[in-house]
Subunit: 320 residues, 2 copies
C-alpha cells in the first residue's frame, strides 16, 4: 500500500523540499509516523532524501507499475482512473474477467509486473517474465454486439503501435489482426475476451502485453522488446500512461461510430497491405495478397484466382 | 439421487413384473435393501406396485425433470447425454455458465423445475414458477466466432417452435429474433450467453424457458403456456427429449455449414415476413416491413422511404 498522500505533497513542492512539520500537518500524523511512512516508501523503491534542516525531498520514483504513479498526471477520463496492481499474478485477463463478472465498473485496469500464466490468442501462452514487461487488462462495457468486437481489436492494436512510436521513436508496425512488430519481431500481443448475450456485450477485457525493458534472453526467438531494439531502457510508467490515453481515445472513436478513423489509422500503421501473405485457418492454409481492411475490421485478401476472400481471424505470415 | 439401475430393470421387463430375487441379483443387493430403494423411488413420485407373488412393477413415472427420465430413450449423440437437474435454482444459465467456465464438456444440460432468478434478454426477468415449466441450459463449444452467434439464436428458436408443434399440435410461431408465440402470446424465451476471445468462442450457453403446463395465472399477461392453449397437460419429459433432439440436429446444421437450411426452416415457422412491424432499438424506434432474414441471421426491414435496414438485435412488435 503506497502512501499516495505523502507522495502528492512531495511531488507538488516547488523547491523540492517539504519540512517534516508541514508533512505532519497535511497528513494529520505525528512526525514519527511520517518517518515510518517515508521508510515504507523507500522500501517500495522511492528515493527520498531526509535532510535535518530542509526536510524531505523526492529524488526518484521506482519504475514499477504502482497505481499512484500510473494515475499521476494521467490524461484520461475513465480508463485507468482506478488501477489494480500486482507484483505477480497468473493472468491479468483472468483477474479482470472475474472482477468484471462480479460487476466492477468500466475503465478499471489490472496491471502486473509478472504473469505466471500469461495467455495469448487461441490458447497460446504469452511469455511474461518479471523483468521489464507491461502486462495490463482493461475492463470495458461498450454498448455493442459481439460481432463488433473485431473493431476493438483494431483499436487496441493501433493504440499499442502508436504508443511505442511515441515513447521510443521506433517504427512499430501492425500485423493483422493484432500483433505489433518492431523489425519483424513481435513486441506486443493483444487478447480480447468477452462475456456477452446474443445481441449485446456484458463486458470485454482488452488484455495487452508489451515487452518494454525485457531482456531479449528472456523472450522467445520471434520476440523482441523496446529496450532490446532501442539499446536503452524506457519508463514503463510513461509507456503505460500513453497507452491508456491512446486506447481511451481510440475506444471512443469506436463507440461513437467513428470506426472509419480507426481503419484509416490502422492502414497508416501496417506495412502489410499490398504484401503477399500466407494465411493459416483452423482447417486450411492459402496464399494471396492483402489488399484492404473492410469496414467491419475483416481482412480482404485477393487470391491467385482473382477471388477476394474476407478473413475474420487466422494466423498471417508475410512472404514478401 | 434416483436409482437408475433398478428403474432400468423395471422398464426393461417384458410382462411388467420383476421379482425381488431378480432385482437383488442384478443390483447385488439384499432384498431388504431393494425394498428401501423402491421406497425412495416412490418418494420421488414413481408409482411402483409391489406384489408378494409377482414382484415389483412400474406403473407410472413422475413428470419431473429427472436426468434418468430425460436420458431414457433420448435419441441424441451428445446433447443431454449428461443432465444436471435441480428442483429449484436461481438460474440454469448462471449455473451452466459457471460449469462451462470450469471446463465442463459440450453437451451437458442443466435443467430445473423452478428458477428464482430466471433471466431473459437485455437484463429482463423470465417468470419461472415451480409448476409446469421447463427451464434448461445447454453447454456448447462450437468452433465459431462471436459474430456467428445469431445463427445459433435462430437454430434455437426453430427447435423450440418445431418441438411445440410436434408434441402438442399447436401452431407455435417465431417472432424474430427468438420469441416463440402461440396465438400471439409468448410461450417461450431464449437467452444465449457466451464467453469468447476476439475470434473464437470459448463456450456458449443456450438457455430456453418454455411454459409447458404452467397455470396461466402464474404467468404475465402477455404470456401463455402449452397446456393453457391446449386445454390439457402434456409430458414435460417428452417435450424436453424432443427439444434436445431438434436442437442437436439444428446445431449440427449450423456447425456443418448448412445454415441456409436453418434459415429456410425459420421462414416456414414465422408469420412475420411481409408484416408491418415496429422496431425498438436502444436509441431509436421505427416502422417498416419485415421482408427477409439475411444469410447471417439478421432481419431485413424495408423502411417507408424504400431503404432496407439490417437489424442485428432489438425488440419487434407486429402491427398488422
Amino acid at each position: 500500500m503506497i502512501d499516495e498522500e505523502i507522495l502528492l505533497v512531495l511531488k507538488s513542492s516547488n523547491d523540492g523540499y517539504v519540512s517534516g512539520e508541514e508533512l505532519s500537518k497535511t497528513a494529520g500524523l505525528s512526525r514519527a509516523a511520517i518517518w515510518k511512512r517515508v521508510e515504507s516508501l523507500r522500501n517500495e523503491g522511492y528515493d527520498i532524501e531526509a535532510s535535518p534542516h530542509l526536510g524531505y525531498r523526492l529524488l526518484g520514483v521506482p519504475d514499477s507499475l504502482i497505481p499512484s504513479e500510473i494515475k499521476w498526471s494521467l490524461k484520461t477520463r475513465t480508463l485507468g482512473r482506478e488501477v489494480i496492481s500486482y507484483k505477480k499474478i497468473d493472468s491479468t485477463n483472468t483477474a479482470a474477467y472475474d472482477m468484471a463478472k462480479k460487476g466492477i465498473k468500466e475503465g478499471v485496469v489490472v496491471v502486473a509486473d509478472e504473469q505466471t500464466k500469461g495467455r495469448g490468442r487461441l490458447g497460446r501462452t504469452w511469455a511474461s517474465p518479471a523483468r521489464g514487461g507491461v502486462y495490463l487488462s482493461c475492463i470495458l462495457r461498450p454498448a455493442m454486439s459481439p460481432g463488433e468486437v473485431p473493431k476493438l481489436t483494431l483499436a487496441a492494436s493501433i493504440s499499442v503501435a502508436k504508443t511505442i512510436r511515441e515513447v521510443s521513436g521506433l517504427t512499430a508496425v501492425i500485423k493483422w489482426p493484432n500483433d505489433v512488430l518492431i523489425n519483424s519481431k513481435k513486441v506486443s500481443g493483444i487478447l480480447l475476451e468477452m462475456k456477452a448475450e446474443q445481441d449485446r456485450l456484458d463486458f470485454v477485457i482488452i488484455g495487452i502485453g508489451i515487452n518494454v525493458n525485457t531482456p531479449l534472453k528472456l523472450l522467445p526467438k520471434i520476440g523482441t522488446s523496446i529496450a532490446g531494439e532501442l539499446g536503452e531502457e524506457i519508463s514503463r510508467i510513461k509507456l503505460t500512461q500513453v497507452l491508456l490515453e491512446n486506447l481511451e481515445a481510440n475506444y471512443r472513436l469506436v463507440t461513437n461510430g467513428d470506426f472509419s478513423k480507426v481503419i484509416d489509422e490502422w492502414k497508416d500503421l501496417t506495412d502489410m497491405l499490398g504484401s503477399r501473405i500466407r494465411i493459416t485457418l483452423p482447417n486450411r492454409e492459402f496464399e494471396g495478397q492483402a489488399i484492404d481492411v473492410d469496414s467491419d475490421g475483416t481482412l480482404l485478401v485477393r487470391l491467385d484466382n482473382g477471388f477476394i476472400e474476407k478473413i475474420f481471424s487466422g494466423d498471417v505470415r508475410l512472404l514478401r
